[in-house]
Symmetry: D3
Subunit: 233 residues, 6 copies
């Protein structure tokens, strides 16, 4: 199957890093098609970034021909996930919903670590909105440098992640940002908690949905918008 | 004071109708400045519409010079309200949050009537996201024709609104769509419930915030985005 | 308009201090009419104080002739607010509901600081009862001396308030006690959080309700009590 | 032990009817001491009635000498229960908290039937405030005539109660008003649901607390008010 | 991979029916190993059935050598799922948690249809316990005959399922009982709602967890029991 | 009346210790009949222990002839309490539900202290399942040695309990494990919080239910299982 990996931000390096993780996780017969939201911001670090990403993301994905078999939205945020589910007839899976869905059978309470203090409120809103607040014990942050600065030494990031994970009291931790995903393997060596890397979860969930014949319901919230899409501006 | 009344959709007639209500509600010294989101959809009838509206709305409002004293987002939805709060330093008030805030001291439980069955889920998400679910007993819909069709006879709409309001068991009803606002006065003559018209609430709240010197907190969720705005795409 | 500022406790100095804040916040055409609950306790520092205040408050306000245009109950508590809403046909607004309603569009999560450790539980009950628990992250206290002791140095109070505010993790703080309201301006100079002073909010909300023609619903919870009031004892 | 049965309203006939139920439920060694709140309203049918009852109730019970071994507040409402717990050092039990506490091990979800439509909101607030909302599936009402009118035929009341109970979907029903308590036995013959009569529960709970040496905690919410009681007005 | 499909009840026919669905859903390389809980009840139709199933289920699965790569507990209930997660080091997935996890990205609110009226309370408890109550709008039942009676005509069951699904207001329905799973395909032809068949979800989720290297956290709730297993009785 | 005190674990010493507490709490006319779950584990320290205990517990209690007047399940856990309620027609009371029910009128928020860190998650699940989460502020643990090791000095345990109780911020603490119950009296001398010992509460509640004629509802969740019990395996 063809699985579109759509990076909601405009940074190709993030797309590449996610695609690497996606291909590691994917089934042999799955083709991971990379897609970068060229019209979006370089990084989604705010609600402003979220809404600037969402419009080009939703309009471009609506226009893709032929449609892929499923879409993974490869960012740990919102940026119009519901809108994409409305305009597509194939399964659309976001990182946060996949990661939290896969976390539920594996733990008592999970924690999420995000990439900046200011994204804690944003991520708490996301957890609430997706209906997982009963299982999420904490959202915390490590502080990453700007996307265009040099990456800090991996060991520093992993140490910070391990410290935050331990501080939450959770028995499972979700890496809440696509920039954190590449550190998952190293983090597993440093914490007794289960570490959930969302790209792998979303790929697995999207593949699963295609294989068992499920997609978002078209009889309610995710029905196609009532007007022809070109009329939306 | 100058209060910008920003219609998130592109339909001038809706802007005009809201401006009429806004001017009726405003203080003598308040100038209501109309603004229509020309880059948005004619009507926000879906999550797709929401995200297509949000980007031009947020970028245009961020660029307004001189800034008004406050902004009312004159639609009963989301379309980037948080993003607008991030990029502006003046108070920004959305219709749903103003209407629900003003409803709380006036009732036991309120109901919201929206403009289409498919917007019920959307509106329920909004109530949750704004933290008012404990006070909202029901979201229901009357079915309006497309924005570009002829408006139905006012009496039909009011009768439908009164019937939905009575069916909710609430003691107060919020008109959850800017197209419904003009029917508020007529509805009051037809129901014993308190009828909350959100444009008036949002104008009053925005004026209040300006006068008592409050605006959204810049120390957390609504801090200015970390990068120069022009870098967001 | 005539706005009755009703202090639920019997201490005139508190009435005066609140009236000062109310007049600063009020519209030019608003007349703030001071009223002190002479039959109530000097300070409402317990549930016992709450219920001792509530009866003389509710009976006296029910008997006021002519009725004012609106009533602000100038204490951060309960003491029969619902009862007053039942017996009056004009808008009645309590400090906690006004402060929390105005806080909602301005923050992610608010905190409340109250005037004594023992009032934390009382205030938590209030937040729950008014339906704002989803937005309130913490209730904390500074410790004020008894109402009849000398006021501590303002700087001590403000320092304590700033420390408590910072400790909550909120991005907005509500001063949860009419004795704290006079410190709002000084506190704003000492914290990056938005500081909500409830008297100003309640005055603005009451004025707004009068101007846009809203009051508590008389079709449910706040309907007039079924018997003539003089039969209630 | 001496157990004070305090009727928060002023109607002796209600006190008598409750005392009958209390004596049926009490242990052989328990003396039920009747007390009627002469300064309160004839019936608590509103928040106004609640607050008018609470002040004379709390002040009179605080002044009782010698104190009884425990107090049952024999009304299905609030009227200052927390205030009474503050001023007394013996266990104080209200009907709603006792009835709901005893209902929890006996059912999946309980319903409460109250005595007037307008008391539904009041009772919902009570359930919330006491922390039992997770177990309460519905509050409904039968409509009783005014307290000073002739009682309707018992069979009519029981038929109405059985119908409301069946409509709730609960597996247990609580009679939410002291005027309903005398119908409990007859209702049990007419419904397969468990019928909880609150006076019996409160008597049993108060006796239990005395016997096992428990009372309300004096280290927090229910600590004695900070000032001498006579200073409260 | 070897995936153990463990039927918690003792009825081989149910195991067979589930295995059929499991094999349809499984990846080419997955071997579905059937296992029937011979020491359990023929059907889990009560809490008594649940607890009688759980002990032989947990002890037998703990003793399996060699361990499979993952375990699917093929019943829509509890019967010791947490206990099995404690004693095994491979991923263990129950039907309800898998079905609800896969439902979350696909709908606004889901409903569950169970196999008997008395199982509604049981299933509501399950939804609460797994933390999905925020997304579940209703639990309803069709009434199936006893497990050892003749199955009713498929068309009757499907008609009843379609009617219950439509009555819930949900946009997705989960078949909450392994006896209902075989009707999924027929039901899809009769309702516009998405129909989630839990066996397929659990197989897909278990395969996913194995492939991406996740299992229940061993650092908290699901750590191995502290004593040697043979000491547990 | 005959009250069966059923210890869900197999350790006679625990039965004895609980019986001592039960007899202290019981009415003069109550006969406490001790019963030990010989087929269960020596201690319930995990979900595995819970499910291993539940089956022999439920089957043995279902078979008791003559039935006692009521049953107290003398462990602070689940182990099939609902199943026992299904199979018996007399009141069945578990320690956690009795302790929390009696705690509700006595405090603002209670805390529970359990006997091992790993039982915190287990106990949180229990609180949720019983519907008391709104009143429970924290679950914490002291660490006891294995059941077959020497008991630590009482003073060490009491000191640890007092420290944990103080750390919770609660005004009442429940001893959440039958091994902790014997320390209640000593703990009361060391903390200003109310200390709830669950065995006494459960005995008092069971006696109360018998005396006022209540038992679990047989019209819903706790109806007798549909098949003859011997068919359950």
């Amino acid at each position: 199957m063809k699985l579109l990996l759509a990076n909601p931000n405009a940074t190709e390096a993030v797309t590449k890093a996610c695609a690497l993780l996606a291909r590691e996780a994917a089934l042999p017969g799955t083709e991971i098609v990379e897609w970068t939201n060229g019209g979006g911001p370089p990084l989604i670090d705010s609600y402003y970034g979220d809404y600037l990403a969402g419009r080009p993301l939703a309009t471009a994905l609506a226009a893709l021909r032929p449609a892929p078999d499923a879409v993974v939205l490869a960012g740990f945020g919102n940026y119009g996930t519901h809108a994409v589910k409305e305009v597509l007839d194939v399964p659309v899976v976001g990182l946060p919903e996949a990661a939290m869905a896969y976390a539920t059978p594996l733990c008592h309470r999970f924690a999420i670590i995000t990439t900046a203090t200011r994204m804690i409120a944003y991520t708490e809103d996301l957890v609430e909105a997706l209906g997982f607040a009963a299982r999420c014990v904490a959202v915390r942050a490590v502080q990453l440098p700007p996307i265009d600065a040099a990456e800090p030494p991996a060991d520093h990031v992993v140490t910070a992640l391990a410290a935050e994970a331990a501080a939450t009291g959770a028995d499972l931790v979700i890496l809440g940002g696509s920039r954190l995903s590449p550190y998952a393997a190293a983090l597993r060596a440093r914490t007794p908690l289960v570490v959930v890397e969302p790209v792998a979860c979303a790929v697995a969930m999207a593949e699963s949905l295609v294989r068992i014949g499920l997609r978002q319901s078209k009889s309610g919230k995710f029905a196609r918008p009532p007007r022809p899409l070109e009329e939306y501006g």
